[in-house]
């Protein structure tokens, strides 16, 4: 048998083409996601251990909000009942707990030169990263939903089930993950220009915490701040899906509006990410090693 490719791949060569071989491209990125999922299974025990943190956070939130509701004497705060509030936070915490350490990974790949291996493969590096990102989330999400949901259930009981919102919710969660990917990956790629991307990520995570509705639904904020938060794409990552999950903005028109805004931002941010990558890759500085 001959191992040389010359005899194995007669021209014209359409390998790597989305136009001529879309199935092969989809299979390629699915395989990347699949292998990431399998690799992350090795950390399953670790995920459950991290779940302990989620249990503590949920317990603290429950105590905090129960006290707040009883102190104000209100049934609803920002339109949320205590039960909705706790389930809302269960969802935001479950989602944010799934985010892979993308920025750190890219930063390390750029600085260590490991990027070299990724760049001499026949795939798009951003799409490769996206595949590994979702491959990791697939393992984490069920674990997190189970733990956070379990805590919410034990604290405030079940949430009314709305089967008609499930497809929209699943899509909104996926698009939300996609949005977080584009921002986190772009921050990671800043390693081409900056020595430390940690501070950029810190800024982003704080933005997500406050203006993304991770700690408090945006509906609770004063109007002016809420307007700013709603104008930013960060509200579409956690707040949008979690709000829909508890049945707020669950009408068909509102769901479509949410999905549309997510898709629009995702398109824009993806273009930005690809642009940043193209600029950055020309600056690859992997001397020596």
């Amino acid at each position: 048998m001959n191992l040389r490719g010359r005899d194995l791949h007669p021209s014209p060569d359409h390998r790597g083409s989305w136009l001529f071989r879309p199935g092969a491209q989809l299979a390629k990125y699915s395989a990347v996601a699949g292998v990431t999922t399998r690799s992350n299974m090795a950390y399953l025990a670790d995920f459950f251990l991290r779940g302990i943190f989620l249990v503590i956070v949920m317990f603290v939130f429950f105590q905090l909000w129960r006290t707040t509701y009883s102190a104000t004497g209100e049934d609803k705060i920002g339109g949320f009942s205590l039960r909705e509030m706790i389930w809302y936070l269960a969802m935001t915490e479950a989602l944010i707990g799934c985010f892979p350490r993308l920025t750190v990974v890219i930063d390390e790949q750029v600085k260590s030169g490991q990027l070299a291996y990724y760049l001499c493969r026949p795939y798009s590096y951003p799409l490769y990263l996206l595949s590994t990102y979702f491959g990791e989330i697939v393992v984490r999400l069920p674990v997190n939903l189970l733990i956070a949901g379990g805590m919410a259930f034990l604290s405030v009981g079940p949430l009314p089930f709305r089967p008609e919102t499930i497809p929209g919710l699943a899509l909104a969660i996926t698009l939300g993950f996609g949005l977080n990917f584009t921002i986190a990956a772009a921050i990671g790629l800043l390693a081409f220009w900056f020595e430390d991307t940690g501070s950029f990520y810190l800024l982003y995570s704080r933005l997500l915490m406050i203006f993304g509705g991770m700690l408090i639904p945006l509906d609770v904020f004063p109007t002016a701040i809420r307007r700013i938060a709603l104008a930013l794409p960060t509200n579409l990552i956690l707040y949008g899906p979690a709000r829909l999950f508890v049945g707020h903005g669950a009408g068909a028109a509102e769901i479509w509006r949410l999905l549309g805004r997510q898709a629009l931002w995702l398109g824009l941010l993806w273009l930005g990410l690809v642009g940043l990558y193209r600029l950055g890759v020309k600056r690859v500085n992997v001397q020596g090693g």
Binding site: R4, A24, C120, P122, V284, V286, Q287, G289
Partner: protein, 334 residues
């Protein structure tokens, strides 16, 4: 007539490195007025590699070897110059070129640490879009060739470095590349594993016709695998010829091992330096630029009865070290 796998003309890469003065003041100044220093990692190198050839691209640390490989694989964009690898410009057609080349960076891994090598192979089959039947037959061939069957389903983290490196090279070959870049493929391996890897690479080159572009600090790799050597230093090519010619050109030293019929004692010979004299044996070093070997031999044979003579070259390692040193002193051009 073989065609060229790699053609490089005047390839240059300059890096801009931020510099700053020592101390807190220097750090503060660098924050507002950063100073940059330009480092010429590769300075206009020109060479070709024929298809099916095994080329050693060697040089001391920081000579520009890895930078050159990274330009030839399309990872780095050059500052100036041209290169064609298998008919493609690497930095413009990186993804297309990737289908035809393989690469192994000895200090980095392309295998998934927590998964068995077979999983990484399956993934690579998808990445390189290899049809299932073709992949199965090629994988079986590589498994047999590299004798990796017994640990194909063991997580990579549990493999020895030698086993892992065999899997790394097999992974780099899974898509049938016509050209393989090997950057320190035997680094950190024990002597047996090193030998195995060298034999495998040699077979790939000699029997399968895969073009090999090797960088290594291990002279054994170079001697075992390559007939041609390109030596780079300070980003410039200071030598480009066959390995044998390299030895001849840079050898001004010969070693003579003599076995005398009487104790060596205070052995001395004009024109030669005694390296070692013990029992009946003597080791001499001759500077062939000052005295010819036959002149020294005539003198010895006139004064002593010699039972055995062995004339040898210094180890290749010394020859290469000498070339590096000359380069540092200001020699060579590309």
């Amino acid at each position: 007539m073989p065609s060229s796998a790699v053609v490089v003309r005047g390839l240059t890469k300059a890096f801009r490195v931020k510099t700053r003065a020592a101390g807190l003041g220097g750090a503060a100044r660098a924050l507002f007025h950063p100073d940059y220093q330009e480092t010429l990692a590769v300075a206009g190198v020109t060479f070709t590699v024929e298809e099916g050839e095994a080329l050693a691209f060697i040089g001391p640390n920081g000579a520009g070897k890895s930078t050159t490989i990274k330009m030839l694989t399309g990872i780095l964009h050059p500052t100036s110059g041209e290169a064609s690898v298998l008919g493609r410009t690497p930095w413009r057609q990186r993804e297309k070129l990737a289908f035809d080349i393989g690469s192994v960076f000895g200090q980095k891994s392309q295998l998934w640490l927590h998964l068995p090598p077979s999983d990484s192979f399956d993934l690579l089959a998808h990445i390189y879009e290899i049809p299932a039947a073709e992949f199965a037959s090629r994988r079986n061939h590589l498994v047999e060739l590299f004798e990796i069957g017994p640990f194909l389903r063991t997580p990579v983290r549990k493999l020895s470095l030698g086993q892992r490196m065999r899997c790394e090279i097999a992974a780099a070959l899974i898509h049938g590349p016509r050209l393989i870049f090997l950057d320190e493929p035997t680094i950190g391996l024990d002597i047996v594993a090193r030998q195995t890897i060298r034999d495998l690479i040699r077979r790939l080159n000699r029997e399968e016709g895969v073009t090999v572009f090797l960088t290594s600090h291990d002279v054994g790799d170079v001697e075992r695998l390559c007939r041609r050597v390109v030596v780079v230093n300070h980003g410039r090519i200071i030598y480009d010829d066959s390995l044998n010619a390299l030895k001849r050109r840079y050898h001004r030293t010969k070693y003579l091992d003599l076995l005398l019929d009487s104790p060596a004692g205070e052995f001395a010979c004009a024109g030669a330096r005694v390296v070692k004299a013990k029992g009946y044996g003597v080791k001499l070093e001759i500077d062939t630029e000052r005295v010819r070997v036959d002149q020294v031999l005539s003198r010895i044979l006139a004064e002593h009865r010699v039972l055995d003579i062995n004339i040898g070259d210094p180890p290749l390692e010394e020859v290469i070290a000498e070339i590096y040193a000359r380069g540092v002193e200001g020699g060579g051009s590309s």
